[in-house]
């Protein structure tokens, strides 16, 4: 037990050190790299907290997609980096900010130390009702059955975020393709990796989705994996991001929400409530929602990384 605590202590020190470095390092590009390392270390912390589903999500989104997004953006803003750095506040504002951060941290630390014992938990209720869903993974049961409305609204939030990003499109590019046209050597190393890896990634993503019913995994993790594979192929110049005016694209983006809503409304006459599943059909319906959502999430996340359209569709 003490050895485990020693390991956790070292992990915490490492996480905090990388976090401090990410905040204080001069170069923003380095900060983006630091955030990727931070996300992966945090995923380890989630494993130590017995939340493997959250660990997979953190590693994929925190360590992966957020860092890609940040690194791309810092490269584009590099020209203004020196001017921005000159605007760093003096010692007094910095001290005040440190006081603010320190007191909030101290307050939260007191709350952590004063958490009630025994801890309140909903685990018994979940354990009591999980049999009705036919699922083995309690987190998936919460996401898609007990708190399905949260997950449905979250899918809507993702689409809204993408619409908001797209509204930033300059008028002349509306309906065009997001991101620059990536020109890389078709015989180069990046293209080589992008030819070999994505098919393997597709198999792994379907696996992560399929085991998500009973083991850690699910549509978010699988969708992020697919998004990463698609982005790899795009950035290696092997394929292009589709113009955002395409009908099929818009169809795929809302497919998950549409299937979710359709099954939800079907629950009103069949099972007596919105988003209730008819007895015995819970698992297949949940798998159907997850499969459709995985595709929508994959396309939404990848397009969020790519940003608003930047060039016209030269078809």
């Amino acid at each position: 037990m003490n050895l485990a605590l020693l390991f956790d202590g070292m992990l915490v020190v490492l996480i905090l050190a990388v976090a401090v470095w990410t905040v204080t390092v001069r170069d923003s590009f380095a900060a983006g790299i630091g955030y990727a390392v931070y996300g992966l270390l945090l995923a380890l912390a989630w494993v130590r907290l017995a939340a493997v589903d959250a660990a997979l999500t953190e590693a994929a989104i925190g360590g992966g997609l957020t860092s890609v997004l940040m690194i791309r953006a810092t490269v584009r803003l590099r020209a203004g980096e020196a001017a921005a750095r000159a605007a760093t506040p003096g010692p007094l504002p910095r001290l005040l900010a440190a006081l603010l951060g320190g007191s909030v941290a101290a307050g939260l630390a007191l709350v952590v130390l004063a958490l009630p014992d025994p801890a309140p938990t909903l685990a018994p209720q979940v354990a009591e009702h999980i049999a009705t869903t036919g699922l083995g993974n309690a987190v998936t049961a919460v996401l898609l059955s007990f708190r399905a409305i949260d997950t449905l609204l979250e899918a809507v939030v993702l689409i809204y975020a993408l619409i908001a990003v797209w509204t930033l499109t300059p008028d002349r590019f509306w309906g065009g393709r997001p991101g620059p046209k990536y020109e890389t050597d078709p015989n180069g190393m990046l293209a080589y990796l992008a030819r070999l890896l994505p098919p393997i990634g597709i198999v792994v993503a379907v696996y992560v989705l399929w085991v998500g019913a009973d083991l850690p995994g699910g549509k978010f993790q699988a969708g992020t994996l697919l998004a990463a594979m698609w982005l790899l192929a795009i950035m290696a110049g092997l394929t292009e991001a589709p113009p955002i005016s395409r009908r099929w694209l818009r169809g795929v983006l809302v497919a998950g929400t549409v299937v979710f809503l359709a099954i939800g409304f079907a629950g009103v006459p069949l099972a007596g409530a919105f988003l209730a599943y008819p007895e015995g059909f819970a698992k297949p319906l949940i798998v159907a929602i997850e499969a459709a959502s995985m595709l929508s999430i994959a396309f939404t996340l990848a397009l969020l990384v790519l940003g608003p359209p930047e060039r016209r569709d030269q078809a």
């Binding site: 190393m189 990046l190 080589y192 990796l193 070999l196 890896l197 393997i200």
Partner: protein, 97 residues
């Protein structure tokens, strides 16, 4: 028999950890990006390979063993290609060849 397997696992995983450690020492001691990349890719390939080799006799089924080998191969592909990509950038940015 089971003791022999235990010994094998301890030896192979121990050797794997040794090469991981050697790679880390190299990463810290070697003088520039390119030499550090050598330390990282070669030591990680061998380190993970030995750990997988040590764990192979403990898996329940041949398919689970194949899964372990797939993990090793994927790490190999990722580290070998990523190191070459970094090496190209480092050579262009660093002192001329």
């Amino acid at each position: 028999m089971s003791q022999l397997l235990d010994l094998w696992t301890v030896l192979a995983v121990g050797a794997g950890v040794f090469f991981f450690f050697a790679g880390t020492v190299g990463l810290l001691r070697f003088p520039d990006t390119l030499t550090r990349l050598h330390a990282l890719t070669k030591a990680d390939n061998l380190g993970l390979g030995l750990v997988v080799l040590g764990l192979l006799p403990r898996v329940g089924s041949p398919l689970a063993g194949l899964k372990l080998i797939c993990v090793w191969l994927l790490v190999l592909l990722a580290s070998a290609t990523a190191s070459q990509l970094i090496a190209r950038v480092a050579r262009r940015a660093g002192p001329p060849a």
